[in-house]
Symmetry: C2
Subunit: 321 residues, 2 copies
């Protein structure tokens, strides 16, 4: 029987958003609960299951019309269906999330991390439709990635492939990264990396005039830097240039690895548009091996931002076996 | 009909070696011609075709018993079956090698680059039997790579994926690489890289005693450094340590990309054994993201060196469609 719907679940540190999605990527019904409300994952999953039943009833959609449920979650492992040691969630250790949810709802569940879900979402409904080789880079609080090779997501031997936020970009005197090492791409090119660069520039260039000095240094966010850059502030523009240049250097190495048709930017920092894309593009082309020059498309995500995470997760729902 | 044999052809800058191989990886018959003897690729292919017919006749093996011919060639592109702008071959531009050979011999031909052929060889007959995710690093005059993800070779969008010798390891003041850029892995960790390191050390450490000073500086090869290290020369041992450390740093980044079960060393420099493996292993583990530590096997190729290139190419022959 043809099952016309999939369910997507985006597990965030704050909210969990769910949606019933049709084959064209339209969200038929959606809803959300607070992720952090329950100390016990069982209580959380009970509330989540109630919500799913509610919106299915509301849309008059039965279990037998749902192909599968896809979950995007931090530190989600596709092979085990578990969330493993996620620093931003209350539940510690290894949570067999897919199994626990499937037992409650009676619909098959597949789970992966947020960035992999984004990549499947782009391939199913977004900028990567028809592509077999591409990389999605998520630029948010951290830097994540979903890599597709030959039409398949790269999970690797253990399900943890695609940690491109943690390739080393500065081997000497690199910034401390949240992972405990130094010099990672994420320490420079995430939203928090942009704010760190701003603080560094303010300290290193005390004589440069910039409207960023009107904000208490420790409170500066990437949004402040974006606003300043858009209003013509030179230092703020230089901060995006620096951020984009490091991303471009990293992208050139990624291309040497999997030679993708496109690299797609996804997430909050991608909203900076040309401010970040232009330096990325220039830096990537300057750093590419000759055989790859002028071949790799740099694109923005085509998933509507508010829906992107749920759509990405739902795309995994179509693939559930 | 079951076809019990494949043919492997290794096109090197000096010699072209061919072999008829059975399903267990036994080379039944082999032969070779000089690659550089003919200025015209057509003349070369005529001689190659004659050789193939000769050894097939000699072994009483008919065309209908050969599943396919696999070719490993510098700058070989799997998608086009062409050798494209190979700097070490006499034939310039784009050579539709697979098509030209297939027309002459009447057996289907597939072609890829040397490192990809090595990876397929390890998967079919060698250290990667039963593995679905691994990387082969070839350490010879240059540094090449063949990447396998989910049991499939990574060719990328254009057939040129897997140029891991050209990821940038030193972004400031890096060594000039043959590719025209600076700081590439290949400039440090190839056989020529080892010789360059030796020259650098000799110049930078004029007071250090080493038997390498008995060789004219410009003539030093990686073999000289190996021999000195094996006889206990401290500087020579340090040169291998330096080489292995950079490889380990690079491997840690590769693991973040595709999370392989193993990384397999192939080619001349791999003969240095523990001299290179030990520093690679220490450096890789030190540089790995926590989730990958103590998980990735470092292995040497299990293909007999003299046969490895032909076996690798023949493995592609089994996959010809």
């Amino acid at each position: 029987m043809d099952r016309p719907y999939a369910i997507g679940i985006d597990v965030g540190g704050t909210n969990t958003v769910v949606g019933i999605v049709d084959k064209r990527g339209q969200i038929i019904r959606s809803g959300s609960i607070k992720t952090a409300r329950h100390a016990e994952v069982g209580d959380y999953l009970d509330e989540l299951t109630d919500l799913l039943k509610l919106i299915m009833d509301d849309a008059s959609i039965g279990k037998d019309q749902i192909k599968g449920i896809g979950v995007g979650a931090p530190n989600g492992n596709y092979f085990s269906g578990s969330i493993e040691f996620a620093p931003n969630l209350r539940w510690k250790g290894v949570i067999p999330f897919a199994k626990l949810l499937e037992e409650r709802i009676g619909i098959p569940v597949a789970l992966t991390n947020d960035a992999n879900a984004a990549a499947i979402g782009e391939m199913t409904y977004g900028a990567a439709r028809g592509m077999k080789d591409f990389i999605v880079i998520t630029l948010g609080t951290g830097v994540g990635s979903g890599i597709v090779v030959n039409g398949q997501l790269v999970y690797g031997h253990d399900g943890f492939a695609g940690e491109l936020g943690h390739v080393i970009m500065r081997r000497n005197n690199g910034r401390l990264c949240g992972c405990g090492r130094t010099g990672c791409l994420e320490a420079y090119s995430s939203a928090t990396g942009v704010a760190r660069t701003a603080r560094e520039y303010l300290e290193l260039k005390p004589e440069t005039q910039t409207q960023l000095r009107s904000i208490p240094t420790e409170d500066i966010t990437s949004k402040d830097v974006f606003d300043a850059a858009m209003s013509g502030d030179k230092m703020a523009q230089d901060i995006f240039k620096f951020t984009g240049e490091i991303l471009g250097e990293a992208f050139a190495d990624f291309v040497s690895f999997s030679s993708p048709e496109a690299i797609i930017l996804f997430g909050g920092l991608a909203k900076a548009g040309d401010l970040i894309m232009k330096p990325i593009h220039e830096s990537m082309e300057r750093n590419l091996l000759a055989i790859f020059k002028n071949k790799v498309k740099l694109l923005f995500s085509e998933l509507k931002e508010s829906d992107a995470a749920v759509l990405g997760a739902s795309a995994l729902g179509w693939e559930v076996k």
